[in-house]
């Protein structure tokens, strides 16, 4: 297992290098925006990776909260199964199918929704006990890093193309900002809380934060229909070659995100090990002193 990390690192560096090469050289120049559009190959993959990490945080937090009480565990299990079943059937029903945006295949929508419960059960098995909380913390922190990049590269893209640093009307960028705020407040709560149940409180906040995201999208989407403004990256079809480079770049960033996440995960385990060692040390210290000097007396009945 130890050797896997360096191998993966080399593979990731190679992928990132090749993705960079593709982004700058192979991908065609955009008709409208010229070469500056290539920011998309870093901006969009970072956003997708950040959202994926926040989703992992949400599932891990729900799992952590559910595990604390047996009654809620079975309830959440059934909700997950329900989502899976609905996800499998709904996209193919005619009324729902009409609503799916043109570009997406109902099959694709179904698989993504079904992934949620599948992932929920996998996380439960792979991350027993305390590691679930470590996963939640890690995915939130690394997610915030990727989110920061999205918020930096976004304006850097909007400035040359639209002459504005910030487009409040652009759903994606504005909602990314709100998500960044939510998960930074999540990390701040973890740092400042000195309760024995910090993990529980953080999990509760993570659920609140995740519940908020669809509402953020909803409110900004409607707000935008009333005040139409330029949208970064524009909608509509992408040139297949561009799409290919984008997906490749995303894969490279996913590898990179996985590596950073894994090391942050191991760092957190080490931190908790040190903390445990400190506590045990004071424990062992006490036993050494109490067992020698004080005869443990008969219990007075």
């Amino acid at each position: 297992m130890k050797r896997l990390f360096p191998i993966l690192s080399i593979v990731t560096v190679a992928l990132l290098g090749y993705a960079l090469y593709q982004a700058l050289v192979v991908a065609p120049t955009d008709a409208l925006q010229g070469d500056v559009y290539r920011i998309i190959y870093y901006h969009v993959p970072s956003a997708w990776t950040a959202f994926l990490l926040f989703f992992i945080n949400f599932v891990a937090s729900v799992r952590y909260l559910a595990r604390s009480k047996a009654s809620s565990e079975s309830a959440v299990k059934w909700i997950a199964i329900f989502i899976g079943v609905v996800g499998l059937i709904a996209p193919f029903l005619p009324p729902v199918r009409a609503k799916i945006p043109a570009g997406m295949e109902p099959g694709a929508v179904a698989t993504t929704i079904v992934l949620i419960p599948v992932f929920y059960f996998l996380v439960g098995k792979w991350f027993p006990g305390d590691r679930l909380d470590v996963l939640a913390l890690t995915s939130a922190e690394v997610g915030v890093v990727f989110c920061t990049i999205v918020l930096v590269t976004g304006p850097l893209w909007a400035r040359p193309v639209w002459g504005i640093w910030w487009a409040p009307g652009d759903i994606r960028l504005t909602s990314t900002l709100v998500m960044w705020l939510i998960y930074v407040s999540y990390l701040v709560l973890r740092r400042f809380s000195n309760s024995a149940q910090t993990q529980m409180l953080a999990a509760a906040l993570a659920v609140f934060g995740a519940l908020d995201v669809p509402l953020v999208y909803l409110s900004i989407w409607f707000f935008r229909t009333q005040h139409p403004q330029p949208v970064i990256g524009g909608g509509g079809q992408m040139d297949p070659r561009m799409l290919h480079v984008l997906l490749f770049s995303w894969m490279a960033f996913l590898f990179f995100g996985f590596l950073v996440g894994w090391s942050r995960f191991r760092l957190e385990l080490l931190k908790r090990e040190v903390e445990h060692a400190h506590a045990m040390e004071s424990l062992v210290g006490a036993e050494a002193s109490s067992s020698t000097s004080l005869p443990l007396s008969r219990s007075a009945r």
Partner: protein
């Protein structure tokens, strides 16, 4: 207070099984295991930081053990909350409300209506139910008594009192010890964390000595074991 029947056969109603309580890097309880019998008066003694308060809070269900289990009347502490009364350093009362108003509110939490039980508890601790002053203006002794009244309001079978006599005038302290003595005779199980062990000499059935998060000694009298504590 209803008077219990003859002294019950000693059956252990509070069992503590290898409890460890960790606050970050500091271990407040380091493997406490003990059994305590019904209807007995236990005094928990030891220096500051020995884990007395943490153990009492764990018994009350206010502190979750990091490891190990605690069972009260066969249930975990939070499920047994109807049968336990808890009193702490702070008064756990609203300063702006009078004693009666406080108790009426807390009686509501236990689903008890009517004032007679509240008045009864207040009189039991030797205070006047008609007192209208806010608890904030009470003397320390009166406030401790009112806090004790709140703890015994719903006639719990188990009493967990954290330093009930601390900076209380001698007269009030003796009264409270007398009251606890009668309650023990009435069949209640009592735990008192205190630094004034002598007050309970001859009253408490057992003195539990704690040091560095562990029970190091259990004796029948507060005095004999004095020299064995380093």
């Amino acid at each position: 207070m209803n008077v219990a029947t003859s002294v019950l056969a000693p059956v252990s109603i509070v069992t503590v099984n290898n409890v460890i309580k960790q606050f970050g890097r500091f271990a407040a309880l380091r493997g406490v295991s003990a059994e305590f019998d019904q209807g007995r008066f236990h005094a928990i003694l030891g220096d500051n930081g020995a884990g007395k308060t943490t153990l009492l809070r764990a018994l009350a269900g206010l502190a979750q053990p990091t490891q190990g289990t605690i069972s009260i009347f066969g249930k975990n502490p939070r499920e047994a909350c109807r049968d336990l009364g808890y009193m702490a350093h702070p008064s756990l009362l609203y300063d702006e409300m009078s004693g009666m108003e406080n108790l009426r509110y807390f009686a509501g939490l236990y689903g008890l209506a009517g004032d007679n039980r509240c008045a009864e508890s207040i009189r039991a601790v030797g205070l006047d139910p008609e007192l209208t002053r806010g608890v904030g203006q009470y003397s320390q002794g009166m406030r401790q008594r009112m806090s004790l009244a709140r703890a015994i309001l719903h006639d719990p079978k188990l009493l967990l009192l954290d330093e009930p006599f601390s900076n209380v005038d001698a007269h009030s302290a003796r009264d409270m010890v007398g009251l606890l003595n009668n309650m023990r005779d009435a069949g209640k199980t009592i735990f008192v964390v205190t630094h004034q062990a002598l007050l309970l000499e001859g009253v408490a059935d057992e003195f539990v000595w704690m040091a560095d998060g562990q029970i190091v000694d259990r004796t029948a009298s507060a005095i004999t074991s004095r020299e064995s504590v380093p």
